[in-house]
Amino acid sequence: MTKQLKLILSLVLLAVIIVGGYFVATNKSGVESSDEKKIGFIYIGPPGDHGWTYMHDQGRQFMEKELGSSISTTYIEGVPENADAVRAIRKLAESGHDLIFTTSFNYMDQTLEVAKEFPDVKFEHATGFKRTDNVSTYAARFYEGRTVIGHIAGKMTKSNTIGYIASFPIPEVIRGINAFYLAASKVNPDVKIKIIWVYTWYDPGKEADAANTLINQGADIIVQHTDTFAPCQAAEKAGVLAFGQASNQEDFCPNAHMTSIEDVWGDYYTARAKAIVEGNWTSTDTWGGMDTGMVKMSPYNEKILSAELIAEAKALEESIKDGSTHSFAGPIYNQAGELVVAEGSVADDGMLAGMMFYVQGIEDQVPQ
């Protein structure tokens, strides 16, 4: 075979793969009609990941059910956080979408770039902080859930050692560790927390290794801030307890799973889409907690937790909702012993958004 022929063949093959992938990746649901509003979603992973993207897709489906024929939705899954995102977002904007949700932090600049080209299209960027007239941002206060699981962990641990699998040292994760530790040490002053940074959101093998390492070092409860259910599965196998992440993971570890912190986007998506339908959408910044329903606890496992403890956890949820309990209520000291939140006050959103220090009592250092 000649060189040219091979080159042409490879190019054709490449073109087929790219074009094919593009069509496969674009999933459309709902029937088009002229007056319906089109809502688009950009996903970082597959909707079946049982974690982050799964919950966004649940939100999309909920919104579709709520608003019926007044909207139709489209999503593009597995969009990398690079220049490809611009193309994917632009594709939705060009094809007549009225509102586009970009559901990962690192779509920030790409979202803004496309939003500038399409001033009539509205955009919503998850977990970001850059807004314009047609770009809103939204996020959830997951740390409130960590206060609840911290309370449960403090009461449930027998070895007083809790293993915590962390992804990347960013404020979101460090805030979670602090909220968890503050709640756990409040009910159990002897509690100790062992932290392993795995430097990935997503590697089932590594997450299982980390869980097993923590269990081997005496942890009897595993907490995770990574995306797969491998840690919960490892806990189940070793006969210790665990909390799930992002979605209810009870099916994968029925005897280890106490509860999960769930991300619930449905109500928010419905409200925002409704605003588009009614024509009163404005650019906003939303950081919703349990009170907005964005953060929810999975059903507490009655096989493991006593009725009394479940009642306590539910009461704690209620008090977080009505504001009488705050995850970061003073006095809070940092590791150097300096008072960072005074008694009687709570940490403000600015401090929470940039939190890069551990609170007093955590025997570890934030990785540099």
């Binding site: 091979k6 932290i195 997503y202 590697d203 390492t213 797969t228 259910f229 491998a230 025997e363 990785p367």
Partner: protein, 289 residues
């Protein structure tokens, strides 16, 4: 730290290291015959997903293993066809195989993400990994076929003029590599982390590739290198959990760093290169030339 904890650490190291050994020893055989297959990651993914889906459908671990191995043979057979018969560039074809594997494994596994399964005990495969390494070592040192593969990898023209079928020998070596990659994938989705998630191999294919260079194409050293790579990863986790301040990122890149160092060392000395890297690695063979 008591003995139970040390045994626990060793246990975690062994379980995590085994898939690296499978993938690397398969690649080693292919490279010994003179073919560099960069498609490990893709073949492992396809091996993992086909094993998982078969297990969910049939409920049989044995069937899962068989289907997984077949998928590895198909993937590597396709690669072998490209590089041996169409004489396509090995590096480009291998990369394409990885990209293809990432895509097709996502497509096959789409409806199976998050399906719970009962994991299989890893220890049989742990023992198997040692046995395979020993057998491959013996094969290259003591058997005629092993020496023929080495000859093909060192100088395919000489081997050809001696009457050996270079294409056939390379084809079989590539197939062995594919089967071992699929076995590694099977082990990961059935024993190590019993689940299917897209891209769950998470770079282990590339570490296995680095491992072959690190081991300077010596089977026993693959075993040693795998345990060094795997051991360091787990030990740094232990140090973290003990509260020792530690640059975790550094240890994530360590396998690649040491491999580069090994490459620098062996390429600084012509004799050393001759002794380790197969001379015809990545060079295409065309008997009509």
């Amino acid at each position: 730290m008591d003995s139970a904890m040390i045994i626990g650490i060793i246990n975690i190291i062994i379980i995590g290291t085994t898939p690296l050994i499978f993938a690397a020893i398969g690649e080693l055989v292919a490279e010994k015959s003179g073919v560099l297959n960069l498609g490990l990651e893709g073949m492992m993914l396809v091996g993992a997903v086909s094993a998982f889906v078969t297990l969910v459908i049939t409920g049989s671990y044995f069937m899962a293993l068989i289907v997984s191995l077949i998928s590895g043979l198909l993937m590597s057979g396709f690669f072998a066809f490209l590089v041996l018969y169409l004489i396509a560039n090995q590096v480009a074809s291998g990369l394409a195989l990885t990209i293809f594997g990432i895509g097709i494994s996502s497509m096959i596994g789409k409806n199976y993400i998050g399906t719970p399964i009962e994991g299989l005990s890893p220890y049989f495969f742990v023992i198997m990994s040692f046995v395979i390494v020993i057998l491959v070592g013996y094969f290259f040192k003591k058997t005629k076929t092993g020496l023929i593969i080495k000859a093909v990898g060192e100088s395919h023209n000489s081997a050809h003029s001696l009457g050996f079928n270079v294409i056939k020998i390379r084809f079989l070596s590539i197939l062995f590599g594919g089967a071992m990659s699929a076995l590694a994938g099977f082990y990961i989705s059935i024993c190590y982390a019993p689940m299917w998630q897209e891209g769950m191999i998470a770079g282990r294919g590339w570490i296995a590739l680095a491992l072959v260079v690190f081991a300077t194409w010596n089977p026993e050293r693959v075993l040693l290198g795998a345990y060094i790579f795997g051991g360091v990863a787990i030990i740094q986790m232990n140090l973290q959990a003990f509260g020792v301040k530690f640059p975790g990122q550094f240890f994530n890149m360590m396998p690649y760093l040491v491999t580069i160092i090994v490459l620098v060392i062996i390429s600084g000395n012509k004799l050393r290169i001759k002794l380790s890297a197969p001379a015809c690695l990545t060079i295409p063979f065309n008997k009509n030339q």
